[in-house]
């Protein structure tokens, strides 16, 4: 220690070397940081902030909380009141709030918020707010005379839950639960849809990933082993659909596969199927899988190709010369080396397939509906919170898969190109 401090290394101009080095390094670091700053800002602005905002949306909605100050106060003071028979003070607070909503034009906002969990309440709020300023005590009888619906226990439960800005209700709705008169319960057989669609979305994406892999593997291998001149021609064939508009490709599949389409016409002309017995390959799950597989195939071929191209052919030759059969060579030598490409392609295709939206909407028919179609429905119908909750559940599922993938295969083995 003592020697080190006495024989301090210095630069030519007499500064301590350590210090000079630190300054030089920090300058380089700053420059490096400045270089990636645009990307960081871009990711922050277009990715992290919107996703954070969306996640916040899924647990936050102040539409009712800020429209009904009197009720919020009353709910806070009277936790666990009798939902089946709220007292007069509760109705008095409600009428006061309805009057407030009418003057402040908040009826639609608060009604919409309650409507998310108790359907049919927007018009109830509108009619109630219009009548509120003329109502006299006792408010309970007066309001129930306007509409007896105001006595529904489910409505009072909904209002109590909505009186807080933060809520988990959207996740409850998104997992097929309904707010009934006795609290949250599992939805009836005729109404359950979201969990089923989540399951179906993952199943369909899995099927598409497997089909993509089976189709892409030989193509990528061929691309990798062909001489450059011929492989680039083949590569163009792979990339050509990649450069074509998604909608054009989807509608082309419709023209090809529909019942009066080219494929069926051809089969009928050849006499393979009868004219009244045409194959239904469009507007159902088959159509969805065919069209989505085609759209996503390049995402599997490209990572596979980039991995296969650098596998030295001498390994396989060595295996063969040591007496391995061709199957063993493939299984023990070639396949393990393509694993990073398989993993990357599968992950890419699967994640893209899970969020796919246009193709299932156009060619899916009755059973081709996936969860993204319902997310889109709620976005356009202004229930952004439910859409956000569904999207957050989808995101969580993907992150879980990603974590599993990291545990099983290792993310450092991922190779995209």
């Amino acid at each position: 220690m003592a020697e080190a401090s006495t024989e301090l290394l210095t630069t030519a101009d007499g500064r301590p070397l350590k210090e000079a080095l630190a300054i030089a390094q920090s300058r380089a670091k700053r420059r490096a940081f400045l270089l990636v700053l645009p990307l960081l800002l871009f990711v922050l602005l277009t990715f992290l902030i919107p996703i954070g905002y969306m996640l916040k949306r899924s647990v936050e909605h102040d539409g009712f909380a800020r429209s009904a100050p009197a009720l919020v106060e009353w709910f806070e003071a009277n936790p666990g009141f009798d939902y089946a028979n709220p007292p007069e003070e509760a109705y008095a607070a409600l009428v006061k709030d309805l009057t407030f909503m009418q003057t402040e034009k908040l009826t639609g906002l608060s009604g919409t918020r309650i409507n998310y969990t108790v359907p049919g309440t927007i018009s109830l709020f509108k009619a109630g707010a219009r009548a509120a300023k003329d109502l006299q005590a006792p408010y309970k009888e007066a309001l129930l005379a306007v509409d007896a619906e105001w006595a529904r226990p489910a409505l009072w439960r909904g209002m109590e839950a909505a009186s807080s800005k933060f809520t988990t209700e959207f996740y409850k709705v998104g997992t097929d639960n309904k707010l009934g008169d006795n609290g949250w319960e599992r939805g009836g057989d005729k109404d359950r849809i979201y969990l089923y669609l989540f399951f179906k979305t993952f199943l369909v994406s899995g099927i598409i990933t497997v089909i993509c892999l089976l189709l892409a593997f030989p193509v990528a291998h061929l691309l990798a082993v062909l001489p450059m001149s011929r492989s680039s021609l083949l590569m163009i064939l792979v990339l050509l659909p990649f450069w074509t508009s998604l909608l054009v490709r989807t509608t082309s599949w419709i023209a090809l596969l529909q019942e009066q389409g080219i494929l069926n016409d051809l089969l009928v002309w050849l006499g393979v199927v009868g004219d009244d017995n045409r194959i239904a390959a469009m507007y159902n799950m088959t159509g969805t899988i065919v069209a989505m597989t085609h759209v996503l195939l390049p995402f599997m071929i490209l990572p596979l190709y980039s991995v296969m191209r650098v596998i030295p052919p001498s390994y396989a030759r060595a295996a063969r010369s040591l007496g391995a059969t061709s199957w063993t060579t493939f299984r023990r030598v070639y396949l393990p080396q393509t694993l990073p490409g398989i993993a990357a392609g599968s992950l890419l295709v699967f994640i893209l397939a899970v969020g796919y939206y246009i193709t299932p909407a156009l060619v899916g028919g009755a059973d081709g509906q996936l969860i993204s179609n319902l997310i889109s429905f709620h976005m356009t119908k202004s229930n952004w919170s439910l859409a956000a909750a569904l999207a957050a559940m989808l995101l969580a599922a993907i992150l879980l898969l990603y974590w599993l993938y990291d545990r099983l295969i290792g993310i450092d083995r991922l190779k995209l190109g």
């Binding site: 359907p119 005729k190 109404d191 059973d367 709620h378």
Partner: protein, 355 residues
């Protein structure tokens, strides 16, 4: 007096002309084109302001997003009736002073001249469009006549095209099941009524091809994929009159609703937007739109003289949802009902689809 008015309008518009650039957002396609030709271009020419049309798949969610983000770039938008009511309730739209809506060309006050409900708190109707069903005349020489025929697979065999969604489909099912138009929403408001609608749909479920985009319906019909399909009447008109396809609309059981011009809160040129709406919803403005596309003009004074299509020979009356002969058995979409039940019934609809 009139001269003075024209002069002052011209002067004020000149004063604004320097930086005004009114942006109108509509649905694109034939509809957006009709509004561009009938309203945007003539208004810009008449007032000296610049005006542009931008397209959207559905302007309503776009408006909501803009207002919530506090970055409104649109001055006027064309939205569906239910959306106009809902967005108005949510405080996304500017209220429109009914006094700015011009009286009819014959001097009738606007409130009396417009069809009931066509002037709302935040919007003024531009046209009335309908969900109808249509068939290919070469497939059925003796074609379907009533809404019940749509569900009659023995008399009219073949696939059916239906829009994938609860709205207008459930109503059609009840109308097809013999429910009177006046009772449709009361029936649909009860669990038994909803069951009844789905039971009716069950009878044709195996034969249905579901469509999603408006352009798909005439395409399905043209490809022979379906024997008959529901569609927006303007799309069938476009294919039949515009492209000469042998399509016939069945007006029995039509479900109509109106489309409105609205102004989002915080529109950059609010006053000019109001002036644009006033111009576009005048007797002549609505006639001009109705001569470009087969949607009905929602004020009486626009319908006195026959409206001729832009091809110069086709009388629009038989093709318009508001033609009395076409309205014999018709249903006005209840925006109140759908504002309340859209999410709930759509969940049920999706669950039914996947069963």
């Amino acid at each position: 007096m009139k001269k003075l008015l024209v002069l002052t309008t011209a002067l004020t518009s000149l004063a604004f002309a320097a930086n005004a650039d009114v942006t109108v957002m509509s649905w694109g396609g034939a509809y957006g084109e009709a509004q561009t030709e009938a309203h945007v271009k003539p208004w810009a020419a008449a007032t000296g302001n610049a005006a542009v049309m931008v397209d959207s798949d559905n302007p309503a969610p776009a408006l909501k997003a803009m207002v919530e983000a506090g970055n409104v770039t649109v001055d006027v938008a064309s939205v569906e009736y239910a959306d106009a009511v809902r967005l108005c309730d949510e405080g996304v739209l500017e209220p429109i002073d009914p006094a700015t809506v011009k009286p009819g060309a014959d001097g009738t006050a606007a409130v009396d001249d417009f069809f009931p409900g066509a002037i709302t708190e935040c919007g003024v109707a531009t046209d009335i469009w309908a969900n109808v069903f249509a068939y290919d005349t070469t497939k059925f020489p003796e074609g379907p006549k009533t809404v019940a025929d749509f569900f009659d697979l023995t008399k009219f065999p073949g696939k059916r095209g239906l829009r994938k969604g609860a709205k207008a489909v459930l109503e059609l099912a009840l109308l097809g099941d013999g429910v009177a138009p006046a009772d449709v929403y009361a029936t649909l408001g009860t669990p038994e009524g909803v069951d009844r609608a789905f039971a009716k749909l069950d009878t044709i479920k195996s034969e249905v091809v579901w469509w999603e985009a408006g352009a798909q319906a005439p395409q399905l019909l043209a490809d022979g994929e379906v024997a008959m399909t529901t569609a927006y009447n303007g799309r069938i008109f476009g294919a039949a009159v515009g492209e000469g396809k042998p399509f016939q609309i069945v007006w029995d059981g039509q479900i109509y609703e109106s489309e409105l011009y609205v102004v989002p809160k915080g529109a950059p040129n609010k006053d000019l937007a109001m002036d644009f709406i006033s111009y576009a919803t005048s007797t002549e403005g609505l006639r001009a739109q109705a001569s470009n596309i087969s949607y009905g003009a929602p004020r009486k004074s626009s319908n006195i003289e026959p409206i001729i299509y832009k091809d110069g020979k086709t009388d629009m009356a038989p093709h318009s949802p508001t033609n009395p002969a076409n309205m014999a058995n018709s249903l006005l979409t209840s925006s109140d009902f759908w504002v309340d039940h859209d999410a709930e019934l759509n969940e049920r609809f999706q669950a039914w689809l996947s069963q």
